[in-house]
Subunit: 164 residues, 2 copies
């Protein structure tokens, strides 16, 4: 019962952030997404691809299968914005983002509360024994913060109106 | 046992973000903190005060006492950057931020795992019964995301070097 509650809390935080990012992406124009979030910084389109790819990489970490599109890591994770001459189109990245979220949701729905407290796939048994916090649910918590971090940057692409 | 583990996971996420923000603040010059994170957006100094104040407001929410400096809410929460002519000095905000974090840590150390799963002070009993996820620990989870959101913005004040 309690386990279920923690899982619900963590997943609800994750879904809440994802929903807010989705609402923002729906609002931003292609022109806005092609801008840098601040002079000399990552463009919106890059951050969008970065977030989708990092979410995609959660699938293997959580033991939910292979990433849907591992090639994206070479574009959006291993190298900074600007390194790859032509990024996939905004439309393509947007589809990818939605597919990844659907795959994660499908995987999540198969997981029992106990599964979430098992080790994620990159921690070894010994380290997990020492620190049982290195479980799958913790991946969700840390990826929620990662999402919020870049969401704060993407939010700067909106037409200027004060936000706090 | 599981409760303790879950509390540990949430607090470790909170402390991890705070530590990263602190490291960044230690690195940023006053000149950088006085800049806007992107043209027309909040200045670093405002965001720093905003984060300290929102953390201060966690004290009453968690039943840990009154905010250390409620007057800050009028400057950093209720109005956007620019509304108040002269902000407190960076030095003063930095002290405030450290005092707030010390007060939170002191309060956290008194809390038992069960306390974290009690209602926060703004949810009423009936709503809490309907959704026991509206507990004190959830405040920590949502404030961790809030911290990460603005941390992503503050990070843009660093000298330009690619970050992902």
């Amino acid at each position: 019962m309690e386990k279920e509650l923690y899982v619900k809390m963590a997943l609800s935080g994750w879904h809440g952030q994802n929903k807010r990012v989705q609402l923002l992406l729906d609002k931003l124009t292609d022109e806005q997404l092609n801008r840098q979030v601040s002079p000399g910084r990552n463009r919106g389109i890059y951050l969008m691809g970065h977030l989708a790819t990092v979410s995609d990489m959660m699938l293997p970490l959580l033991g939910l299968g292979k990433p849907l599109n591992p090639a994206m890591q070479e574009i959006f994770v291993n190298v900074p914005d600007g390194a790859v001459k032509e990024l996939p189109s905004i439309e393509k990245i947007s589809e990818y983002w939605k597919e990844v979220n659907a795959a994660l949701d499908a995987g999540f729905s198969e997981m029992k509360a106990d599964d979430w407290f098992g080790p994620h796939t990159v921690v070894n048994e010994e380290d997990f024994k020492k620190d049982p916090g290195r479980n799958k649910l913790n991946i969700v918590l840390s990826r929620t913060s990662h999402l919020a971090y870049h969401f704060g940057q993407l939010a700067l692409l909106q037409s200027v109106q004060k936000e706090a």
